[in-house]
Amino acid sequence: MKLVIGGFAQGKLNYVLQDSSLDAWVVLDGTLAGGVPQGKRVVVNHLHQWIRECLRDGADPEKEILAFVERNPQCVLISDEIGNGIVPLDAFEREYRERTGRILIRLAGLAEEVVRVICGIGQKIK
């Protein structure tokens, strides 16, 4: 598994897709649901949005994402960095920010490679 993180609109998906020919990938956008045809690698874009939906629904994002990674060990997960700001006034926003950070730490620990993308440029940090 590979984890790609970075700020909003930094070219993370493009960075991932330039890595290989387009048709080798299936991109899921903000969801973990969807079939992955044989021989294709799965990219999950906007993972942070999926985490947010999970928390809204009272589901357990940690459990679900770890199970997903186990089923798709070759996947690429892309998430916005959302922790670098002022503490939100709203309690749900605070919870979302903290949980997303913790999930990214967990995933970074499991990943073979972690890349941080800024201005479309990837820095391999693991």
């Binding site: 984890l3 700020g7 670098n84 700001g85 002022i86 950070g101």
Partner: protein
């Protein structure tokens, strides 16, 4: 030896900073300078979580939501982990009630206190926050707070022997 550890919320900066402190403190007593004001169940729960994470690592906790200069004698010659600069800055700026202090004054006071602390402590680790990259243009008071913390971070980074940014639990060396 002074290390500045920066990171966002939930980045793993606290765990990393504690490990830094343990690595550089040697035989010195380790003090944990806690700057968060405990005023509701959420902040108390957060402090409790941090306290549990530090348990058994030999830290003595001092609650110091502002005026770090008041602990200089107590920690003289020992190792200090200050967590965190973003709370200290908020408390110095807004803590007295009434109008917030001007950001320049707040930054100046804190930097002077930190210079004194760095002079007296045998080892110092400071945790600070990245509150600059959420792309939101806040109203004037919050922007002043961001300016204060930005200016403090800049000057602490110049003072520090090592500056580390923690991203998704991964330490990235910025300086040193």
């Amino acid at each position: 030896m002074m290390i500045l550890v920066m990171g966002g919320s939930g980045s793993g900066k606290s765990a990393y900073a504690e490990q830094c402190m343990i690595d550089i403190a040697g035989e010195k007593q380790k003090y944990y300078l806690a700057t968060m004001q405990l005023r509701d169940p959420e902040t108390r729960a957060k402090a409790e979580k941090h306290r549990r994470a530090r348990k058994g690592k030999g830290f003595l906790t001092i609650e110091q939501p502002r005026s770090v200069r008041l602990v200089l004698e107590q920690v003289e010659g020992n190792a200090v982990l200050l967590e965190c600069m973003s709370n200290l800055t908020a408390n110095e700026m807004f803590g007295e009630g009434g109008l917030p202090q001007p950001w320049e004054t707040v930054a100046e006071t804190i930097v002077r206190d930190m210079e004194a602390l760095n002079g007296r402590a045998a080892a110092l680790v400071v945790v600070t926050n990245n509150v600059f990259e959420d792309g939101v243009l806040y109203e004037e008071t919050t922007r002043a707070y961001q300016k204060a913390l930005g200016s403090i971070n800049e000057r602490l980074a110049a003072m520090a022997d090592r500056v580390v940014e923690v991203v998704a639990g991964i330490p990235l060396l910025i300086k040193g």
